[in-house]
């Protein structure tokens, strides 16, 4: 079983992938065996003055995700996800969450070895 977290603008597979990681609206966590989904709200990270990426990384690690599909990840969040052993698929904005998962299952998501956004601080 693999758990994937996808940054999402809403709680359903039809919602758009939220391009932001740290300040994403929430995460849809999908179990790839059963395709059961759950939604993790990330609202508390959205309003943080700083450290949203770190908080978001903690949220998805606590949800048991091993893979993250998203748009952009900054350097601190990326380092945190690497330390936690979470693989990161980036640049998946402009898709629905369902489409991003299909793309992952088809094997066409490559995993990043570097962040694709500069630090805010």
């Amino acid at each position: 079983m693999t758990r994937i977290a996808v940054t999402s603008e809403g709680p359903t597979l039809q919602d758009a992938v939220d391009p932001r990681f740290g300040r994403a609206g929430g995460f849809i966590v999908v179990d790839t065996d059963t395709m059961a989904t759950s939604y993790v709200d990330n609202g508390a990270s959205q309003v943080m003055a700083q450290g949203a990426g770190i908080q978001a990384a903690e949220n998805i690690v606590n949800a048991g995700a091993e893979i993250l599909l998203t748009g952009f990840v900054g350097p601190k969040a990326f380092a945190a996800l690497q330390a936690a052993g979470v693989k990161v698929g980036q640049n998946l904005e402009n898709l629905s969450v369902g489409e991003a998962i299909e793309r992952f299952k088809a094997g066409s998501v490559s995993f990043a070895d570097a962040p694709n956004r500069e630090s805010h601080s």
């Binding site: 309003v47 943080m48 003055a49 700083q50 630090s119």
Partner: protein, 322 residues
């Protein structure tokens, strides 16, 4: 007396007013530029530089062999400067506000003091006798309040040693740096302009500073422009207008050459002399007798997020946490 010259909107004339007030002040004075992101009081006061000191913030450095991943520090840190992922304690010194709490709660001594450069403090003398303190934030540094605290500390020492008054050129806005700059002051001098933008931010500044319960006075710069809403607002809130600087071409030309407004002509000389008298009068007043409704507890400025929190170990940070 410590006077903080502040505004909501940038570019309303804080530095113009600060420089002329400082240059014509009739008692011993320390001039302080706390707009550390873009200090420019020196452009008008032209101090000769005496020294430049580097200012550092104490931040944690990890001794990974001693860390037991107990989470005491990560639970304490309000700023996500410390976080545990997998079997690693990540330390992000650029996020640290320097409260020192992590050193205190670490049971194994795994966190050692290191430092992050915040910027510099420049000390100089203007016009023979006015000590000038200028903070200059390091390019890339995102937190100005810790540097401002360091400068305020030196400011207090110098003012006490010299029995001097202080004029602070504050940063614009109403968030943490602006609140930090005015918190030591006895009087807040708000500089505004009667334009819609100026008036909008002037209201924000009044709203942000009112809970500090300090006497406030107003300078209307570029008087003659715009409309009379700033005047009506001052009247309604009982804010005394201590000076008006007219919207005149000669003033802009004099300013553009780096001249001191108080030295332009007799009218301006008189304007700044009466401004000092007005400030002295305000200082003598009981601020609680001022009309106007306080807006409740201040959270360190309108735009400061509540989630940025406040470390229980750093009560002195107050409004200075961003």
């Amino acid at each position: 007396m410590i006077v903080a010259v502040a505004s909501g909107k940038g570019g309303t004339g804080k530095t113009t007013v600060s420089a002329s007030l400082a240059a014509t002040w009739e008692r011993p004075l320390v001039a302080v530029d706390l707009d550390v992101e873009e200090p420019n009081l020196h452009l008008f006061l032209k101090p000769s530089l005496v020294s430049i000191e580097t200012v550092n913030l104490e931040v944690p450095v990890l001794d990974a062999e001693r860390c037991t991943l107990c989470r005491a520090c990560t639970e304490l840190c309000q700023f996500k400067a410390l976080a545990i992922f997998g079997k690693t304690l990540m330390v992000m010194p650029e996020m640290c506000h320097g409260c020192g709490g992590c050193f205190e709660v670490c049971p194994t001594g795994a966190l050692k003091p290191g430092s992050r450069e915040l910027g510099v403090m420049e000390i100089g003398h203007s016009r023979g006798s006015i000590p000038c303190l200028t903070g200059r934030l390091r390019i890339g540094e995102s937190m100005s309040p810790p540097l401002m605290r360091h400068i305020r500390h030196r400011m207090a020492e110098m003012a006490s040693d010299m029995s001097a008054d202080v004029i602070i050129d504050a940063p614009p806005g109403v968030s943490c740096p602006a609140m930090n700059a005015v918190q030591d002051s006895d009087v807040i001098l708000l500089v505004t302009e009667p334009t819609p933008f100026g008036f909008h931010d002037f209201q924000l500044a009044w709203e942000a500073f009112t809970p500090l319960k300090k006497p406030m006075g107003v300078v209307i710069n570029r008087a003659g422009l715009g409309d009379d809403r700033a005047y009506a607002f001052c009247k309604a809130k009982g804010l005394p207008i201590l000076a008006e600087i007219p919207y005149r071409r000669e003033i802009a030309e004099h300013y553009a050459k780096g001249g001191l407004l108080a030295e332009l002509d007799n009218e301006m000389r008189w304007t700044f002399a009466s401004l000092q008298e007005g400030l002295d009068r305000l200082h003598g007043q009981d601020p609680r007798a001022q009309p106007g409704d306080p807006v409740g507890e201040c959270e360190g400025g309108r735009r400061a997020s509540s989630a940025s929190g406040r470390s229980p170990l750093a009560p002195d940070q107050g409004a200075a946490h961003a």
